[in-house]
Symmetry: D2
Subunit: 401 residues, 4 copies
């Protein structure tokens, strides 16, 4: 194994990374610096995390608050492209990875580390996302992925490993679901979900009410959008992160944002995941409503191309690439006019935009409904149709010859 | 005006086409043959339509049953592409136009007509769709679009016009909404909908219960899919049209399939429409669930391209074009593996696929969850990541030079 | 006809626009201001043009030098997207239209005109391009398109029309080809070209030597590219327009840049055109060579999407649209690294990049040729291939079951 | 190492595969069956290849003639999509790989082998192409890639290895260029080409005359195209392979089909290659000329999408995938009308279509040039333009408010 002196580990305080700290020290003979990214996964997950890291043997523990930056610099830009992976997945885990990797590299530079490590398994997307970002940001640093190296392949073996070293750990030997949370969403995998013919049991879901348990009365919420970004909720101007928190609170009550899908991982296999994205689902609906008003046909078609491409880029961990810069620049240009207000109705698992307006709206009651007017003369339609269908006409005449 | 002897009119029995019959006779001095397409708009719309046509002055009335053909030959192929216009609209009106135009041309050939006419207004998409199809199928026939020619621009003037000619008409002088129905959907425009800041009142909707009025208990429905086509509902094998009718019945009770959007018309303006597509929405959810199981990442990305392109093609009335043949051939090829079963939960306006299986599923519990195995060796991931991110690495090293 | 007081006419001094001046005055009773765009069509075309305009009856004649702006603000941006229409056409006429329309609107505002006019025929693309730009820039101004209104449908009738009014005109009654030139290219239509089975005779071509007449010795030329823009030729730093002029001179000697195509017009029909773009063809080859060095696989694929979309946008006259802003922003982002030097060989109608280098090159002799090294470990390839082909493997195993 | 009994090796008779035969036997203790694909690489390469294989220690040698099938089933379908990789590369090596891999699997099945091997290096695309095809066609067979395993990293070490075993080999210790040929093209890498700032010396090229050495008189050649396939040359009906051979002969004299590019390999790095594709370049020009005549604007735009996607698919070795089936089905549908004749001029390195005709041509001299007529009424243009630019107009009016 190559010589490594100091490694910065993306540490969560969970079972895996608790074991990785001593494993790195024993197997690489290196100092381990714990790095904890606060991306809104929740206070309970962060509580006592520094003490845990040190107890595991880390020399230092750096907790970095990335909540506001993640929403403002990664989520909001992604929303401007309209990216939805495979038509359904709102990219919750994917969007968090690049900012975590970037902050981890910054800590590595600060502490003079020569390696980076993470607790991602060898079958998932996250290893690719982390290491793809590392390659772009710190190609000189070594990367250690313990899950691809060690032989600790079960929770039991990990618990034994910690027990042998007297490292305290509150994790239980059995855990049905594998979950990952940040301000935007929480994901659930494993357990009965591994069979797509099994309906998720109610215990899968942790953030949202079930639609059945949701209130019997609908609730309206008003979002203000400025250049493609949600800037206020119910008239209250809030930071991006605070908008999201507020909407999570409102929407989870109504059971909004649950999805249950089988998706294609980047590494060639399929997986089944359940996701809860309550506030994000409301935001997407509001942004879509504004788009309906402000973009013409060609722009919306183009935006669908941008969003489709961007969804794969984000999912695949290619954030720090020229492709990202290019697509995002295209989406930012379109977003210049995406300003307005949307009232959304939340009810029993669904969110629906019921009122929408924009100063840049291309919708005009006058154009759409009245008879002949200055802007639109019905007689023009004949000419339009004749030229629009001319190639068809020529082709048909050709065949008749 | 050019000399026309016999025109076939797409006749609905409504106010507009009732007036068009005498108007064509008076203004073109021609015989008018009424053509009524039965696309599942409902028995009440067809009742007495032949008598009405003759009373208006038509020399003949041909009622053609297109219900099964429309679903089998126009809707099902479109579903195979995954086309959804501007991310939301299920193309209900658009998909009906080409088959109506085609049947109308066939009647024109049968009766030896030299012209075709329709009752579409000069501001909408339907005129383009009809006339685009006419251009492709019958470039030699003249087309008369009375709404672009006459000066009867209000319901009152149309009623007066009929009254002056003693043509009976049950239409009322005021009608809030303009509606169009076929087996797939019903659309609603006009009234308060002309202001996107107005929430649709409950009287807009005619097919579905509101989510609030829908049953308090969810209902499951099982769809069997074979090569991209729904072939059975709850285990009962049905024709395409009968599948749709059955699903409309089930889903409308649960308030499924309402959408309320501002869309870009082909003719350059925006319009606001409310649509109810209960059975279709369930079908789309089932087909998406099968796609999740059977298509790999590249295929799903490509299918999104096919569907995006096809949605504009169908919306824009370009059915009888080489582009349609090409995209559809591509979608048919993908659909070869789209076979399986999906259980969907209908509740309060929402439909969710909760169980899905396919003999062609690429999902494998083994690959996705276990440790090292024959098919997937975790150590391969390192190599994958290194090459996958090589360009980023080279670029980063370059910048560091 | 609607009341018009003062119209600004895009005036060329040719037969058509010479007749349009009196025709506008007689038919609209309005003052006519001539506007001449200098887009590099050549000194002989501009010589005496003001006198001619006044002799035709124009009240004023404004000649505006757009040469540098056209290359810098319209052609160079288009080149950054890589746009080539239908795989061959370098968009010479198309790129000139928006700047001409914009300058014409500016003159109209300056002189207080209430209408705009142009000499484009009713069958071509240019009418759409001009009027599309007018719609975006001056929706309040009327547009008069004499060719769609008058009955002067032959050169003879135009000459008679002028003779009757004693307006001097040097145009001859017969002209085989219709040509249009600007700094970027010259186009030729008509004559024997109207039959695609006819080879263009040598008299079609006016700018370039034929390959047969070109020198028997190749000539090298060096282009310096900075962020996607050609900034120097053979080491001499030049403005965009001067780069183009210089390259036109060099390349036309060698017979470079002739194309002969049948293209799809926007208005639904096909036309056959011959184009000469000597300097532009050399520029395109140089920019392509730089792209080869600096963009990774995903970026080049994406750039092909940008360029394809942009080619239709420019051809279709949609310059002043949000879509243009979006695509261009995406292309500008990619161009940030497109810097370097290219040596090109010009010989007998062909230009070939024979040497290329860039400080941002991702090509590395080390990576591409040596054995195991720090950046690329051959053993990684196995892992890459296994995951890259995993979906195929799973699918194949599935079928074998 | 896993237990392997019999391996089928893709054998060329060159230095690498000559060494692989004994290496496999020694390192895997298995029988080695040599498989030689005749893809038109030339008689001299095949001469004595069986004797060589047996002398190297192969137990059997199977030479399979794939020439006709490769052109008919891999190259012609690819041509129908219009695929050109990164705008320049005609995919010569890429198109040969799937048919070789497929035939190799067939031999493996016939002789009851349990493994496959190839001589591709660990840095190139071909390993991915071969193994990607193996994964799709024979996921149960092991794959051995000696270049990724052994330590024989120079020609000298390979020659020593053979000498030590008394295996005769005519290869020399130094070889400047690495070349790969099949009926479609020959590729050249290495030597001075490793520096993109070096112009290729004349000794790089082996098939074609240099443009300078090419005849001083142009030569015309006529290609007959039927549904997207070249079926006759100069009036002589020939099989696909014979068409290609004939055109190679004609075009190489005129120096046609040389390209010199830096391309993005699938494995993340760039490489510089020179390619000669004389006959193929003529075919592409002919097919493009027919496309100009027969496809409308939307179809050509769509075909560019198909071709772009297909070029990456073929380059990346994803032939045996559902994506290939889908894109190809789309391209076949378009090709139905791609029938006609093209006369091409070959001169000094360039091929130009100078005459073209098709029974399905949408070009019509009548439509494109005359005045008002039945099919195209110039007055229709106004209506077209008004609606076409309506969104721009509305947007502009909006901003002016």
């Amino acid at each position: 194994m190559s010589s490594i002196k100091k490694v910065v580990l993306a540490y969560s305080g969970g079972l895996d990374t608790s074991a990785i700290v001593p494993w790195l020290k024993e197997n690489y003979g290196c100092e381990v610096v714990a790095f904890v990214a606060d991306v809104g996964q929740g206070a309970e997950e962060l509580e006592g995390v520094e003490a845990k890291a040190l107890a595991s043997g880390a020399s230092e523990c750096h907790i970095v608050d990335l909540k506001e930056a993640m929403v403002a610099e990664y989520i909001y830009p992604t929303l401007k492209t309209g990216a939805i992976y495979e038509g359904t997945y709102l990219l919750g885990t994917s969007m968090a990875r690049p900012i975590i990797a970037k902050a981890q590299v910054e800590i590595a530079r600060k502490v003079g580390a020569d390696a980076l490590s993470h607790g991602c398994t060898g079958k998932g997307n996250d290893q690719v996302r982390f290491e793809g970002c590392f390659a772009a940001l710190a190609p000189d640093l070594k990367v250690i992925a313990p899950w691809r190296e060690w032989d600790l392949t079960s929770r039991e073996s990990l618990l034994d490993y910690l027990a042998e070293r007297d490292i305290p750990c509150s994790a239980s030997a059995t855990k049905i679901y594998s979950r990952d949370a940040n301000a935007w969403h929480i994901s659930h995998e494993g357990g009965e979900l591994e069979n797509p013919w099994c309906q998720p049991s109610e215990q899968v879901w942790t953030w949202t009410n079930s639609p059945e348990q949701a209130p019997d009365r609908a609730e309206l919420v008003t979002l203000s959008v400025k250049q493609g970004e949600v800037v206020a909720v119910n008239g209250e101007t809030l930071s991006p992160y605070d908008c999201l928190v507020k909407l999570n609170t409102l929407a989870s009550v109504h059971g909004i944002g649950r999805i249950d899908i089988v998706e294609n991982r980047l590494v060639g296999m399929k997986s089944r995941g359940c996701y809860e994205t309550p506030g994000g689902t409301v935001m997407m609906a509001a942004l879509q409503a504004i788009d309906e008003l402000v973009h013409d046909k060609a722009s919306r078609k183009w935006k669908a191309t941008l969003g489709g491409e961007f969804s794969h880029l984000v999912y695949d961990g290619r954030w720090f690439t020229p492709l990202k810069d290019s697509i995002l620049a295209g989406a930012e240009a379109l977003s210049a006019v995406a300003t307005g207000e949307v009232v959304l109705k939340m009810y029993k698992g669904q969110v629906t935009a019921v009122q929408k307006q924009s100063p840049n709206s291309l919708y005009s009651e006058d154009f759409a409904t009245f008879g002949a007017d200055d802007v639109y003369d019905q007689s023009h339609a004949e000419g339009f149709i004749r030229l629009y269908s001319l190639a068809s006409r020529i082709s048909a005449l050709n065949k008749a010859k």
